[in-house]
């Protein structure tokens, strides 16, 4: 299910509209992930505060969306473009890749909430494919 030219155009177009709110999107997606999928909290036991609005959650939302932005800019070759991030996740963070799907889902939910007009079914399928491809690239160095 690789990204077609049409998918890439749709993702780039949607990103142009939503990137201004990237920090907010990341923050809200993380909040929802921690609330709806409590098993994800296991990765953040080193944070003092996991409640919505807390500083570490906010900061990490920003970090995550920075990664998404980088992926958009490297959409033509995600595997090589995200090599460093993949090594980070594979060797240091060792996040189970099943969780990439979970966070992706919550990013899509937040996009639907904040951009109900722009998040058409066509934009939705392109974004879902993109986040899947991103997740795959992130898992590249795992084994």
């Amino acid at each position: 299910m690789s990204l077609t030219a049409k998918d890439k155009a749709a993702v780039t177009a949607l990103w142009a509209k939503v990137s201004g709110k990237a920090d907010e999107i990341g923050h809200d997606a993380l909040n929802r992930m921690l609330a709806v999928y409590p098993q994800t909290k296991t990765y953040f036991s080193h944070w003092k505060d996991l409640s919505p609005g807390s500083a570490p959650v906010k900061k990490h939302g920003k970090t995550v969306m920075g990664g998404v932005a980088e992926a958009v800019s490297k959409i033509d070759d995600l595997t090589s473009g995200l090599l460093n991030l993949s090594e980070l996740h594979a060797f240091q963070l060792r996040v189970d890749p099943a969780n990439f799907k979970i966070l992706s889902h919550n990013i899509l939910v937040v996009l639907a909430i904040l951009f109900p007009t722009e998040f058409t079914p066509e934009a939705h399928v392109a974004m879902d494919k993109f986040l899947s491809a991103l997740s795959l690239a992130l898992a590249e160095k795992y084994r």
Binding site: D28, N31, R32, A35, V36, P52, H105, L108, V109, V110, A112, I113, L114, P116, F119, T120, P121, E122, H124, V125, D128
Partner: protein, 148 residues
């Protein structure tokens, strides 16, 4: 048996009360057929599914979306007994319709996205999303229960 907190029960029933099933049913099913096109395999008798516009304008898709939400209503009305309530439906989806149970989750996710679009940041906050997705995961599990 599934344990629902009072907060979860309130959130789920509250959300359901504000949904228009004639609206969200067609929306969610259309979105599922568009975002996960392999799900179209179960609807070969539905006519033109060749493009998002065709899917969104398809009367059979719309009607079936409403049917699906009617099924969900039974779960809402029997929240403490969803597994038993859905036993026959599960058998039907397995034996008669031959639907891969993975697809139930895909449709559930589309229902979630449509609800999120409708209710926005406060109407669909993290706590409400948690309760709603818990409800849908119980439904999905019950629908897949009788497969063998």
């Amino acid at each position: 048996m599934v344990e629902w907190t009072d907060a979860e029960r309130t959130a789920i029933i509250g959300l359901w009360g504000k949904l228009n099933i004639d609206e969200i049913g067609p929306q969610a099913l259309s979105r599922c057929l568009i975002v996960y096109p392999w799900t179209q395999r179960y609807f070969s008798t539905f006519g033109n599914l060749s493009s998002p516009a065709a899917i969104m304008g398809n009367a059979k898709v719309a009607a079936h979306g409403r049917t699906v939400m009617g099924g969900l209503e039974r779960a809402i009305k029997n929240m403490d007994n969803i597994k038993a309530t859905y036993a026959a439906l599960s058998v039907m989806h397995s034996e008669k319709l031959h639907v891969d149970p993975d697809n139930f989750k895909l449709l559930a996710d589309c229902i979630t996205v449509c609800a999120a679009m409708k209710f926005g940041p406060s109407g669909f906050n993290a706590d409400i999303q948690e309760a709603w997705q818990k409800f849908l995961s119980v439904v999905v599990s019950a629908l897949g229960r009788q497969y063998h």
